[in-house]
């Protein structure tokens, strides 16, 4: 071993600049990571909850008729953003249809197409057993932007007064729909 090149430990002299630079780089990073623990990465909170739902005026994929959220007031609404290229959307589609059959008389169910074309959606709907509720085309995505849609599927639960009560990210199941609707005032 070549000890000749390695002198004995000299007396310590603490370097505050080194300490300061190190801390400036590292402390914020660790603080950020620590903050990360307080959140479930899959739970994407929406600042819209508790606020009036943004209105939209979108054309129905079948009739071409324009439907606005305002015209749906008086009953709670379930607004589901979906697309044909998303697998969880396929999963939840039959559940949404079943829910629309059960609650359709008391609750509006609305599907809004996210970043997709009309032709593909029509084809997709045919293959997945149709749709028991209106599906609207969001050309250019103004509704998705207004609702802060992050990735499909996302489902918004809006009460009879047009206030967003909750938002569910990912495929919904029947239990979720039931408990959300039962929690409506």
């Amino acid at each position: 071993m070549g000890h000749e090149a390695t002198p004995e430990a000299p007396p310590s002299r603490f370097s505050w600049p080194v300490m300061a630079i190190g801390l400036v780089i590292v402390v914020p990073l660790i603080a950020i990571l620590a903050v990360g623990f307080q959140h479930d990465p899959h739970d994407i909170a929406s600042p819209l909850i508790g606020k009036p739902a943004p209105d939209f005026a979108l054309r129905d994929i079948d009739t071409g008729r324009e439907i606005t959220l305002a015209s749906l007031r008086g009953k709670p609404s379930v607004v589901n953003f979906f697309s044909t290229w998303c697998l969880p959307c396929e999963q939840e589609h039959p559940i949404l249809m079943a829910a629309a059959r059960v609650y359709g008389d008391r609750v509006n169910f609305i599907g809004i197409v996210f970043e997709d074309t009309k032709a593909k959606v029509n084809d997709w709907l045919v293959r997945h057993g149709g749709h028991g509720y209106p599906v609207l085309i969001d050309v250019g995505g103004p509704a998705a932007i207004a609702y802060g849609v992050y990735g499909v599927p996302e489902t918004f639960f809006i009460d009879a007064n047009g206030v967003i009560r909750d938002k569910v990210k990912g495929a919904v199941n029947f239990e979720v729909i039931r408990s959300e609707l039962e929690a409506m005032p």
Binding site: G2, E8, F37, P41
Partner: protein, 665 residues
């Protein structure tokens, strides 16, 4: 029985690691021989206990001993035997146990390789630091992630099996262990750097030994990163191999700093320059491996890799904070003792190229780190979730990558010390011409993407430098000594082995860079729904759906779509992408099918599949084969550079030979 035995071994490992660390680190500047011996025995006890505990777990998995909590969690009687063994690292508790076992293996290696320098107090301190890390991990296992608990309630007859993503591809058998060998292996260089700073003595001999110890984990990390890309390519089905996923980044970050260290250490060894900086890089590399494990296992990051939010996250973060703070304090105390060597004399020198190289690697590391943590930052301050996508990373990765590729050629071409502009021009002219010729060849082949062409030019330039660097000494020797070309080659190559290994690694990197440049800008894509008898065209291929079939296996059901592949009307083969439905999992998982040639891959991936039709995505990915080939070349070069010399590598004899050859790695 297995559970009890496993628990006992874990407690034993914990006790040995904790007491060994105390013994090794409290002996003062010159620990006694007895103390050293005791510390080493305790280290061996830790290592064997950790390894045996892992073997007990493997036995329990193979015996389907569902009384062990971890087996009940990931085991299944229907899983094939190989996958059963692999289940060891398929979930949190098992992977941390495996971590400890790998640390045990490295500890044994360190004990063996340092037998002859037990009188060096730094050796004992290194053992102490390794054992501190070992204490943390065995404590984690014993306290919060114990896989050896008794299964509560009646013992189940069967279990759910491991995560389907892990069962779905044979690469899962080697990709995680490679990454672990890389991550965990960084513990030893970290401990060496820490020990050297603790003793206030970092010398060229210690740095040389340190580099040797970092090369193996660096090589494992290289393989791990590339295999991760390969796995993403073969399994995830989006047609690419790198998505800047947080966990991919986590494996890439320590690779960047370790690569920077390998280069910085040569400056240190050769010129005594940047001694403290080299230590900073080693300490950072280890901190980044801890961060990587944290990212994978804490659930803070939303990623294909992180399965759950787990209680282990905060503990990991605390450990990370301790590692980093201890490193900073130590550097603050000792940095002034690392006297600077000869100052740099010219920007036209190999030293300068190394410094630029390090600068670029550090910027790269910071940028990836910021991109990876930005979503957390945005959430903390603005309360929104954002995702930072590939384009953000590509924006800086492309220019930095190209600059590093250029430097990879400039560094070895310039001499140490100072080059006159004339010398520099002479040294760079031929490689530069090769780089320009490379660009022309690809332009002639029809490429017009500017960034891609620049990257290819840089790669051609670097390859030319590397080849010349390997061939020139052979010619020079033959001219000086006469004799046959083969004799000259043999004797030259033996003497310049480490340097040649480095240059071969550079050639591998150039291949990887070229593959990335080409595949990322010339992908061809087609998408559509195909019914039996129907077809989809992509490039000059036509894919005709012959039909679907279902194959049942004990643990899964596979549904294949058989596509006959025609190229310009001629049948060239059959590709059968599949959807796999695992018993215990809701969503089916796809398996793409790939037809690989040296020029391009034809890549088919299913979006959905039922008995009537297939939703197909087809890609033509040019140049991807060269990515894997480049990786193999890098590995070969590392093996050549790191292969132990016939004479003891740390001895003074080879030290001289290596110092003269210390051009590349």
């Amino acid at each position: 029985m297995n559970a009890l035995l496993g628990r006992l071994l874990i407690y034993l490992a914990l006790a040995a690691a904790a007491s060994g660390a105390v013994v090794a680190l409290t002996g003062g500047a010159r620990p006694s021989a007895q103390r050293t011996k005791l510390a080493r025995s305790l280290a061996a006890a830790f290592a064997w206990s950790a390894i045996l505990a892992t073997l007990v777990m493997v036995m329990a998995l193979l015996q389907h001993d569902f009384s062990v909590s971890y087996v009940a969690q990931v085991g299944s009687r229907s899983t094939p035997t190989v996958i059963t063994i692999v289940s060891l690292w398929s979930s949190l508790e098992g992977s941390i146990l495996f971590w400890a076992a790998v640390l045990g293996i490295y500890t044994l290696f360190w004990l063996r390789m340092s037998r002859d320098r037990q009188d060096d107090p730094r050796t004992t301190s290194t053992v102490g630091v390794v054992l501190l890390v070992g204490t943390f991990f065995t404590l984690l296992i014993a306290a919060v992630a114990n896989p050896f608990l008794d299964t509560p309630g009646p013992i189940p007859l069967d279990g759910p099996g491991p995560n389907p993503l892990l069962q779905n591809h044979p690469l899962m058998i080697i990709h995680p262990p490679m990454l672990y060998l890389g991550y965990v292996g960084m513990t030893v260089p970290f401990a060496m750097a820490f020990a050297a700073l603790l003793g206030g003595r970092v010398g060229p001999d210690w740095t040389r030994s340190l580099r040797r110890w970092i090369l193996a984990p660096w090589a494992f990390l290289t393989v791990g990163v590339l295999l991760g890309g390969r796995w993403a390519y073969d399994v995830l089905g989006w047609g690419g191999y790198w998505g800047w996923d947080p966990v991919e980044n986590a494996s890439f970050l320590p690779w960047l700093t370790a690569t920077a260290f390998i280069h910085a250490s040569m400056l240190e060894e050769r010129k005594g320059l940047y001694r403290g900086w080299a230590m900073v890089l080693v300490l950072t590399t280890f901190a980044l491996t801890v961060l990587g494990t944290f990212m994978t296992r804490s659930g803070v990051f939303n990623s294909v890799h992180s399965f759950t939010q787990s209680p282990i996250g905060p503990l990991f973060l605390a450990f990370l904070a301790m590692v980093v703070l201890a490193s900073i304090v130590l550097l603050a105390m000792r940095l002034h003792t690392l006297a600077p060597g000869q100052p740099m004399r010219s920007a036209l020198s190999r030293e300068a190229a190394f410094v630029f190289n390090n600068l670029l690697f550090v910027i790269f590391t910071f940028a990836v780190l910021i991109g990876t943590t930005y979503p957390l930052l945005a959430e903390a301050f603005r309360g929104i979730k954002v995702s930072v996508g590939g384009p953000f990373f590509d924006d800086f990765a492309v220019p930095i990558g190209i600059a590093i590729t250029f430097l990879m050629g400039i560094g070895p071409a310039l001499p140490w010390g100072r080059a006159t502009p004339g010398e520099a021009v002479r040294a760079l002219a031929l490689p530069f011409a090769v780089g320009a010729a490379t660009v022309l060849v690809f332009v002639a082949a029809g490429m017009d993407h500017a960034t891609t062409l620049i990257a290819l030019g840089a790669a051609g330039f670097a390859v030319a430098v590397a080849l010349r660097d390997m061939i020139e000494p052979i010619i020079a020797r033959r001219r000086a000594h006469g004799g046959g070309l083969m004799d000259a080659a043999r004797s030259t190559l033996r003497r310049t082995r480490r340097r040649n290994g480095g240059q071969i690694v550079h050639i591998g990197v150039a291949l990887v860079v070229s593959a990335i440049a080409i595949s990322s800008s010339y992908q061809v894509k087609a998408e559509g729904v195909v019914r039996p008898g129907g077809s989809l065209a992509v490039g000059d291929y036509s894919l005709v759906l012959n039909g679907m079939r279902v194959v049942s296996e004990p643990h899964r059901q596979r549904q294949f779509a058989d596509f006959v592949v025609y190229r310009e009307g001629e049948k060239v083969g059959v590709l059968s992408p599949a959807m796999n439905q695992y018993a215990m999992s809701m969503n089916p998982i796809g398996t793409p099918a790939v037809m690989s040639t040296l020029g391009h891959d034809l890549y088919l991936s299913l979006m959905h599949l039922d008995s009537r039709e297939a939703g197909l995505r087809a890609f033509i990915n040019p140049g991807v084969s060269w990515l894997w080939l480049g990786g193999l070349v890098m590995l070969l070069g590392t093996a050549i550079a790191a292969w132990p010399a016939r004479k003891r590598a740390t001895g003074p004899v080879t030290a001289e030979g290596e110092a003269t050859a210390g051009g590349a790695a």
